[in-house]
Symmetry: C2
Subunit: 321 residues, 2 copies
């Protein structure tokens, strides 16, 4: 939950009018998103999300993220559409921050997704991968294998404070994953943070995908690895093969994985678990004790890694070619 | 900002359906209100606020608060209307909390109200006082003069930790205010927490009054004293007589103050400042350093009290009879 930046009603009204949205009818700070300040606003033109970008989003990457949303929305993906201001800009300054307005999407996130929801997620993920294939901007993934090593170097001396066996877990994963990481799989634009929080459902359909602020160019199947970690473990951190099979089945109904991608699933899923373990452990150490936003528990991802170590065949993830 | 309690999507959908509101279309935790958890929800029937009452609201008082909103709304006051569930109840349990759904109100709060907005506030306050005159339920004000003394007793030994001169300020105020507190002025239902946060404007009209969780029976003019403190000081804590005159003028255009009420304004405004100083000082001490919600600064109200001490005539507040 987070409203880091307060905006005066005059500045807000001016910003909204400058986007051609007419008179502001309501504005509520919303308790979603850890990185940025978000307001749900309503005008005569409808509902929108106003985001003020806080320090963790690099302003120079905003054209990639917002351009991607516009690109995907134009291809029918249910993602927020950035509203350009009268100068044609997607990003402008508000209260000393880079800020943007995007369309609001209906729907509710699934706290514990069903297999059916995993299948819908898989379909949409594949549709996003296809829709992104001709997106012209590029942004390297700063949280790929090289990024993991750099990130770990930043908190290595204090890693044991998070969990006593964290250093051993990370070193083992590096030793196994770095030499086995595929680089010749199909690449493209990936969401890279597609947790259930970032997906909305309405009845039996997937109604929205949000939060493209980790999107980048990387292996398409790495995005699947991320979703397997984010969607297919239950509350007691146990892997649910049925959900994984549904997710992969949904994905393949839209975009068939290559044989090499299928073979890489165990390594990619395991790598994705390491990526989230590392960022969570880093944030755990970096977050002041009195912070407004509590960091996620890194132990969730140690538990996942221990299971991934036992799952070496694609079929262990419910993959069928 | 506060979302203390998380609700699963199934529980939420059941709760909303149980209120006859149809399918839930969206739900966002909102960063408003320090006391409770609030969600802005939307269904086919419109937008609503779902509130889960946290520990500071006594469940036994909810029928008073929610009944009052229903009563005032039925008389045309722009306040939230509680939605009764299929059993006719305004309050039901959700996620282990007492919870209620009320209608959503359009509008934006004024961070720094204009004299015109103060006049509108005065009018609406008087309309609320008249509309509440036949509300049958009763609830004593726990934050009247007796309540101040009891509250101060709870943190007196640590009062100097808040501000070194706090004990002296409080003792002086008790000595002046307690013997001079009027008890024979017109009484009725007061809002008792009508800060700018709790009032919405849309264009040139006042579109909503929210947050009735301090409402109670007390002197009507004490509510004016609270508003004078909450609306008529600028950001550098200086009293603005024009705003006060506008507020009182707006009020009197709807309900004329009695001569005794007019005379009591300086004491009532000063007492209201003491009430907020005491609750803020108490919360300042009681709030853990790592709390999600930061307490308000008590010094704002010491500054007000020092000015009230210089303003002994009703005319100092812009009052004209």
């Amino acid at each position: 939950m987070a409203v880091y930046t307060q905006v005066s009603e005059e500045e807000l009204a001016r910003f909204v009018t400058g986007h051609g949205l007419g008179e502001l009818r309501s504005c509520k700070g919303i308790a979603e998103g850890v990185e940025n300040t978000n307001y749900l606003i309503e005008t005569v033109k409808g509902r929108f999300i106003l985001t003020l970008y806080e320090k963790r989003v690099a302003p120079e990457n905003l054209p990639f993220y917002l351009g991607l949303m516009e690109h995907l929305a134009s291809k029918g993906i249910a993602c927020p559409l950035p509203v350009r201001d009268r100068d044609g800009e997607q990003v402008a300054e508000l209260a000393g921050r880079a800020a943007a307005i995007v369309t609001f999407l209906d729907g509710i996130s699934a706290r514990l997704p069903t297999p059916r929801q995993c299948a819908l997620l898989g379909q949409t993920l594949a549709q996003m991968h296809l829709a992104g294939s001709d997106y012209p901007r590029k942004l390297e993934n700063s949280l790929g294998p090289q990024g993991w090593v750099q990130l770990y170097d930043r908190f290595k001396p204090r890693a044991h404070e998070v969990l006593p066996d964290l250093p051993a877990v990370v070193e083992t994963e590096f030793a196994v994953l770095l030499p086995n990481w595929s680089t010749d799989l199909p690449k493209g634009v990936i969401h890279a943070d597609l947790f259930p929080d970032n997906v909305f459902f309405l009845g039996d359909r997937l109604s929205g995908v949000i939060d493209f602020y980790f999107a980048c160019n990387d292996l398409l199947a790495y995005d699947i690895g991320i979703c397997l970690n984010a969607w297919c473990f239950d509350v007691s951190r146990r892997f649910d093969r049925d959900k994984a099979a549904a997710l992969l089945g949904g994905y393949q109904s839209v975009r068939r994985l290559t044989p090499a991608e299928g073979r890489a699933i165990p390594v990619l899923a395991r790598g994705a678990a390491l990526r989230f373990l590392l960022t969570r452990a880093h944030d755990w150490i970096a977050t002041p004790k009195d912070a407004i936003v509590k960091p996620h528990d890194p132990a969730d991802y140690v538990a996942r890694i221990l299971q991934h170590r036992q799952m070496t065949r694609p079929a262990d993830y419910g993959f069928e070619d």
